[in-house]
């Protein structure tokens, strides 16, 4: 019977029937997202940009960074995705702002989820992607910075 996926109950302990409830913090960030970029990105002069995900998968995040002295002085983002994706990107932007690039790179999905007071299990892997976009943005900045330095 174990060969039949219908008969597989091995993960039964993870099947929380109420696992889709969002915390108040998630709702609050979803309703009032921080640091999002409204409209056209040409309005925001950024030093690094990074994108992760794909609308086909249901979630896509893009982070824009302003950087001075190896520190994130300002951050903006765009997200296509569910409430959890929007809230987690918003939370990440709060976590990352003001950090050094090295410290910002350390931000994990777990830290974002903790900041939001937890996220439903199923949501975690698909919607908490912003930190990867952040790392891509930092890498983008460093590559451009190196290029500019080499050009000198």
């Amino acid at each position: 019977m174990q060969d039949n996926p219908v008969c597989d109950n091995r993960n039964a302990e993870n099947n929380s029937p109420n696992g889709w409830v969002y915390t108040e913090t998630v709702k609050e960030h979803f309703l009032n997202p921080r640091n999002f970029l409204m409209g056209d990105e040409s309005q925001y002069p950024y030093d690094g940009v990074g994108t992760v995900g794909n609308p086909i998968c249901g979630d896509q995040m893009r982070m824009y960074l302003q950087i001075k002295d190896n520190r994130i002085t300002d951050i903006k983002w765009k997200t296509y995705g569910c409430a959890s994706a929007i809230a987690s990107t918003s939370a990440l932007s709060e976590l990352a702002k003001g950090r050094t690039l090295d410290a910002a790179q350390e931000i994990s999905a777990a830290e974002i989820a903790d900041y939001l007071g937890g996220l439903p299990e199923h949501k975690f892997h698909c919607s908490v992607l912003g930190h990867e976009a952040l790392r891509a943005a930092i890498q983008d900045y460093r590559q451009n910075f190196d290029k500019a330095r080499n050009a000198l």
């Binding site: 039949n4 219908v6 696992g19 889709w20 969002y22 709702k27 979803f30 309703l31 997202p33 999002f36 970029l37 409204m38 409209g39 994108t51 609308p55 086909i56 998968c57 249901g58 979630d59 896509q60 995040m61 893009r62 765009k78 997200t79 296509y80 995705g81 569910c82 409430a83 959890s84 994706a85 929007i86 199923h122 949501k123 698909c126 919607s127």
Partner: protein, 414 residues
């Protein structure tokens, strides 16, 4: 709260609640018992069976009470265990999953861009075809009578119902029927060779359009009580007299040995009352006039007021109470939750809301576009939905979509 999710469930009607309470208070017995309280309960169940039979123009003996649409669908697929089953690509999971589990071979019949089975080819050795009468997500209503006629004509070869070259959703089927030379087929014992049976899941159709098993020509039909103002947890299965049958749930002799388990008298009475009211009031007429007018008005307003909307529902041969659209750049669950925070309840085909990683298989089968599926939002109206409620929806919806589109990574001008 403005409730626009009647396709998910409808609140039990006042008359239904009262009839059920009466059953509970009357201390009726087990309908299987010979004593007086048992026999009183049995009479109540018999009356409900008459009411359900009348609603779909069946004989009472052809009605089996179950726990709902899901059990009814599972029961039919179980009858055809190991046989060749063909289902449409837009079936409810209770058909799709149980067909997958029980079929010897399973064929999926594709749908066109409006959700109609139109150019399907049914393999020659098929034993059961299951096509839902009306789709619960987009509202496409199949020409099931035409499909049944085509399938059962038994002539073999390709048969076209309607004009297959016209790209509008008001014509239907090109189906290849089984050829007669295949003599390997026998569904279960006591069935005629070369008989192809047809099942339809009428759960979303019932009460919204007229449903007549004889006019449709189906062998099996399923529906549940809670879509027509009855209680959750009870439904009906129509099995045409002479069609193959074996019980899914084994045990006692309830339902004439066709479905074991102590008879759920109160819920069955609730279903009976809901069915009776549906028949008496001809609710499908109110749906076709009042509800359809409101729905069409909402559709026009949404298309007019919100940019980058894609209509997922067909414009003809559609259920009168369902409107399914996708807002480009705005994900469905986000729209749903923003509306919920504004006290408006709708539904979405987004994977995020379903608890899976895959978006609605129905929207995928129709549009083959995951972004459209993730962004799909279903508004479904009830008999008591008012214009004022829809106006309140329209006060917030454009702003919500605009907000999500403005922070979206999806470039809408591209």
């Amino acid at each position: 709260m403005i409730y626009l999710d009647f396709a998910a469930t409808t609140p039990p009607l006042q008359e239904v609640q009262e009839a059920m309470l009466e059953v509970y208070r009357a201390e009726l017995g087990n309908p299987s018992s010979l004593h007086t309280p048992g026999q009183l309960a049995k009479q109540k169940v018999a009356q409900a069976r008459d009411q359900v039979a009348q609603l779909i123009n069946a004989d009472p003996e052809e009605i089996i009470f179950t726990s709902g649409g899901t059990e009814s669908n599972n029961t039919v697929m179980h009858v055809f265990q190991g046989k060749n089953i063909a289902i449409s690509a837009i079936e409810h999971p209770s058909v799709a999953a149980s067909a997958q589990a029980y079929a010897g071979t399973l064929t999926q019949l594709p749908v066109d861009q409006w959700g109609f089975v139109r150019h399907a080819e049914i393999p020659a050795n098929t034993d059961l075809v299951s096509i839902m009468l009306a789709n619960n997500e987009v509202g496409s209503v199949q020409d099931l009578a035409g499909i049944c006629k085509t399938i059962k004509s038994g002539r073999g070869g390709a048969i076209v119902v309607g004009d297959a070259n016209r790209e509008s959703p008001d014509q239907f089927v090109k189906i290849t029927t089984p050829t007669v030379e295949n003599s390997q087929r026998s569904v279960v014992e006591n069935t005629t060779e070369n008989t192809l049976y047809v099942h339809t899941d009428a759960t979303q159709a019932i009460g919204k359009i007229p449903v007549d098993v004889k006019a449709l020509g189906v062998d099996y039909l399923t529906f549940s009580a809670h879509k027509i103002g009855g209680p959750v947890g009870v439904g009906a299965l129509f099995v045409r007299r002479g069609a193959p049958y074996c019980p899914l749930i084994l045990g006692g002799h309830q339902e004439n040995g066709r479905r074991a388990g102590t008879t759920n008298t109160a819920s069955i009475v609730g279903l009976g009352v809901a069915a009776g009211l549906t028949t008496t009031n001809k609710t499908w007429q109110s749906y076709d006039t009042r509800v359809r007018t409101l729905r069409d008005w909402l559709k026009a307003q949404i298309m007019q007021q919100i940019p980058h909307v894609r209509l997922n529902s067909p414009t003809t041969n559609d259920l009168p109470h369902i409107l399914n659209v996708s807002f480009a750049g705005a994900e469905g669950e986000a729209v749903q939750l923003y509306l919920d925070l504004a006290d408006i309840a709708v539904s979405t085909g987004s994977a995020c809301a379903a608890g899976s990683l895959e978006p609605s298989p129905v929207i995928m089968a129709i549009h083959h576009d995951a972004e459209v599926a993730h962004g799909s939002v279903r508004f479904s109206l009830g008999l008591n939905t008012t214009r004022a409620e829809l106006e309140q929806l329209l006060q917030v919806l454009p702003g919500i979509v605009q907000r999500l589109q403005s922070i979206s990574t999806v470039n809408l001008d591209a």
